[in-house]
Point group: C2
């Protein structure tokens, strides 16, 4: 093959998007942007709590008192991250901490009355946030998307 033929082949491949790497088509990049958009929508509806903080409260509301570590597992945060989240919720009086009577390694976390009121007040907003996040999709598309996203996560 001549050099010119080779160049022609490359140009054609470029036109067909076979050779070039396009960041904006990569699943990781789009995933990051979709997540950013969701966080922005969340913040526009719930200004005084972050998504991780909300996740912690919602999970505690769902399952009741649990250890900090177990809570982290349930809301997909490592130990260092969950500690920071719980510290801030504690400082705001939304959760309270106590020592496990039997296993002295464990730090138990539970909602305070104020935390319970907060999460009950916020859950309807969270449903709105989910709706708004999925708004670009039809109901059928949203169902498909959630099914496939769950397989990836």
């Amino acid at each position: 093959m001549s050099g010119e033929d080779n160049l022609l082949r490359l140009v054609k491949a470029d036109e067909l998007d076979e050779n070039n790497y396009h960041l904006q088509d990569q699943v990781g990049f789009i995933l990051r942007k979709a997540h950013q958009r969701h966080v922005a929508i969340f913040a526009s509806h719930i200004a005084d709590l972050t998504p991780p903080q909300f996740a912690a409260l919602a999970k505690l509301y769902d399952i009741g008192e649990t250890s900090q570590n177990q809570l982290g597992t349930l809301i997909a945060m490592d130990a260092a991250t969950v500690k920071g989240v719980i510290d801030r919720l504690k400082a705001r009086g939304l959760v309270e901490l106590s020592k496990h009577e039997v296993d002295k390694r464990r730090l138990l976390v539970n909602l305070t009355a104020e935390g319970r009121e907060a999460i009950e007040r916020l859950i309807p907003l969270a449903r709105t946030i989910t709706e708004e996040t999925l708004a670009p999709l039809t109901a059928k598309e949203a169902a498909t998307f959630l099914r496939l996203l769950a397989k990836l996560a």
Copy 2:
């Protein structure tokens, strides 16, 4: 309605998942987990660069020299975030900075020779990362997922 009837109604609603809020079904929570998984896959293949750093290099490789602000727009980072990313790439000699001759507000960013070598070496790995991230899906599912994800992002 009696108290017992009321309780029964609530139990049934719970079974039907109509009344309870399940964090693990919310798009925001699953999106966060999917993103975490992707970042972990990325790190397992490319240990010496983060996804945002890679994005900056890949975009510079694609479009050539541009301003820090413009680069941020293209890779979906705000000004404060892109500054940190570029600072670290500069410290490692992968990009170089210069002042725009005409518009003195602008800071131009470009790949160094080393940066160009790095991104050329890494792009094949990035394709592997994309493949591995999408591995739980069939080819058809992956195509559908990417289409819907792009609509959300």
